[in-house]
Amino acid sequence: VRRLLHDPAALIAIIAAPFLLTIITSVSLGAPPKIHTGIGIAGAPVPANAAQGDFSVRSVGAADAPGMVRDGTLAAAVVVPANGSAPVVVVGSKNNVIAREVATSIAHTISDARAGAPVESTAVEPLPLGRKPLDGAEVYGPVIAVFFVLFGVGSISRRLQSERADGTLNRLLSSPIRPSVVLASKGIVMFGVGVVEVLVVILTTTLLFGADWGNPLAVALVTLAIVAFGVALATMIAAVTKSSAQAQGLEYAAAMALVALGGHIVPVRNLPSAAQTIAHYTPNGAAIEAFGNIASGTGSTASQLAPLMLMLAAIFVVGVIAMSRIRSVLVT
């Protein structure tokens, strides 16, 4: 711990980097991006209930519509031809697929009415969301916290390999200190590093961006579980590699694979459906899901913590492999 506290690079990795990345991400993605939402309708009256969500719908001239879409005045336009048999035309921008899709939906409704289809209008009522939805810091805070746990705790296991290479470990083991004590001390420091990294993200998002992570006890449980997984993984990598460089390469590969599969890089909902399923079954993906459940404040605590079971299973499996192999590192 003393070595860590006197090492500027370690302090950057454990405290400064999570702090900085949390701020950049929270500020950048904290406010929802604006989507240009103006839709024009030409050749037909704007429907009485034209308020398409927040999409503004207004009447425009049929000849003007394409030009207005091209110059960005409109996001999309619906052009209804005077000839009743000609199809309704949607003019969309290559750059705004969402607006084109909304315009196409409106065009179908207009087209159905023109074709004399039976109108089965369904009454609609807005429902309250209850507690506020998660904001940028609450969505991306857990992602960054878990990311740093995966990349951060490995530095201690690499030190184990370095100490083995430079003979420090042998000298330590030739003293009355038992190997299990050496291992436990490394494990405790790794655990501490992981917890500090998560705490830096929690404090940054809470104090600077007003994030509400939810029930503190449940958050603590998930934090302990993901850090325990990180420690187990780093120990396993230290156990199966023969040098610091090997450990570094394997840690990087494992962390990158978990980050890519676990839904850190992009929101899970934007991944292909198979990748969405895989994300739920990775320990880091499960941790992000659990943090999200807790922050959303919906349902019982038990249901919020359901992903914890998968994390515990992963800790057990990786931990067993790590403990069965780590002895060879300590005695060689």
Partner: protein
């Protein structure tokens, strides 16, 4: 002639050491493409899909028809939830952009923080005003216009551009700078100073080697992502100029890090990765700067990444030429001159000190 041979020898030595590391090869050939693929497909979905959650209180044929019709709406991806708690949690967590409770009347719940929530609600409301029976659908044709003046890259091309810029910095600043640190630790510069190789050859070889790796990396990512992901890069000459300038910035930064950082390789890797990742996040390599607040758009301009992304965006999305990216090229050149100049001075000082120490 001898000077050239010596410089080339220093450069080749560096390239051989760099290329023989599996981690570096992975970072050059595999990781950028894989991450661009994940980012790109997700980016394309983010700007085209409307994920809507549906919870049916009382299953019926009408409810099934409605869910089917909603799923068939353009862009809509329906996720069915068994309970109201599950649906509300999904909306609050941004798993879906909006929620629909199928009952009489139809319950709609949106997430005001979600960028496509209003669009999703608009589509549901539009569907609610007509029969969900697909046989009643009138004919609609869709035409797509290019809005050149306002275009920005999205989807795979944008992700490929982001990864191109990011990984040029990752490989040269993080991985290649470690070799310089290792050389300093092992006293390689002291030994080189005792050889007849002139100081200028050592400095030029080290800098050109890094520049070469960065240019090759950039062009490789461009080529592979064109073949694999269908990315385009605009006019060849301006794009090549942008790549060379990014490479020069990265090479300068790499030497500066290698000369200036006094720490273990492991810690150096973490520090440089944090630095490079922060610049990439700030500079719009991971997400479009179009979606971030104005302050962040301005702040991004302190990074070379942002200027590189601006230039590539202009070339690709708006078919720009050299005159359109002149400002971006000038600023990148400024970064390159400043960093390379500083790097050369520091490296020369290092070799002089090594010579004196000898």
């Amino acid at each position: 002639m001898i000077w050239l041979r010596q410089t080339s020898a220093i450069m080749r030595l560096f390239l051989r050491r760099f290329a023989l590391t599996p981690l570096n090869l992975t970072s050059i050939f595999v990781t950028p493409i894989l991450i661009a693929l994940i980012f790109g497909s997700a980016d394309a979905r983010a700007v085209s899909e409307l994920p809507i959650g549906v919870q049916v209180s009382h299953p019926s044929a009408a409810a099934t028809a409605f869910v089917k019709a909603l799923d068939a709406e353009p862009g809509v991806v329906v996720h069915v939830y068994k309970t109201n708690v599950g649906l509300v949690r999904a909306v609050r967590r941004n798993d879906v952009a909006a929620g629909v409770v199928y009952a009489e009347p139809l319950g709609l719940v949106g997430n005001p923080r979600d960028p496509v929530s209003t669009a999703s609600l608009a589509v549901v409301q539009s569907l609610a005003r007509r029969s969900p029976d697909p046989t009643h659908t009138g004919e609609v044709t869709v035409s797509e216009l290019a809005t050149a003046a306002h275009s920005h890259q999205t989807g795979l091309p944008r992700a490929a551009a982001g990864m191109l810029v990011y990984f040029m910095f990752v490989n040269v600043c993080c991985n290649a700078s470690l070799l310089l640190m290792e050389d300093r630790r092992k006293g390689v510069f002291q030994r080189l100073a005792s050889s007849p190789i002139p100081q200028s050859s050592i400095v030029t070889g080290e800098v050109i080697g890094r520049l070469f790796i960065a240019v090759v990396q950039g062009l490789l990512v461009a080529l592979v992502s064109s073949v694999v992901l269908g990315a385009t890069w605009g006019a060849t000459l301006p794009f090549t100029l942008v790549v060379v300038e990014i490479a020069a910035v990265a090479a300068g930064l790499s030497v500066l890090i290698g000369v200036g950082l006094n720490t273990s390789a492991s810690d150096a890797l973490i520090t440089t990765n944090a630095l490079v990742a922060s610049a990439a996040l700030l500079g719009g390599c991971f997400w479009s700067l179009q979606i971030v607040p104005r302050t962040m758009q301005i702040l991004a301009l302190i990074t070379p990444n942002a200027w590189a992304m601006r230039a590539i965006d202009s070339l690709v999305a708006r078919g720009g030429g050299i005159s359109d990216i002149a400002v971006d090229l000038l600023v990148l050149a400024g970064f390159a001159i400043a960093l390379l100049g500083l790097a050369i001075v520091r490296l020369r000082r290092l070799t002089v000190v090594a010579g004196v120490a000898r």
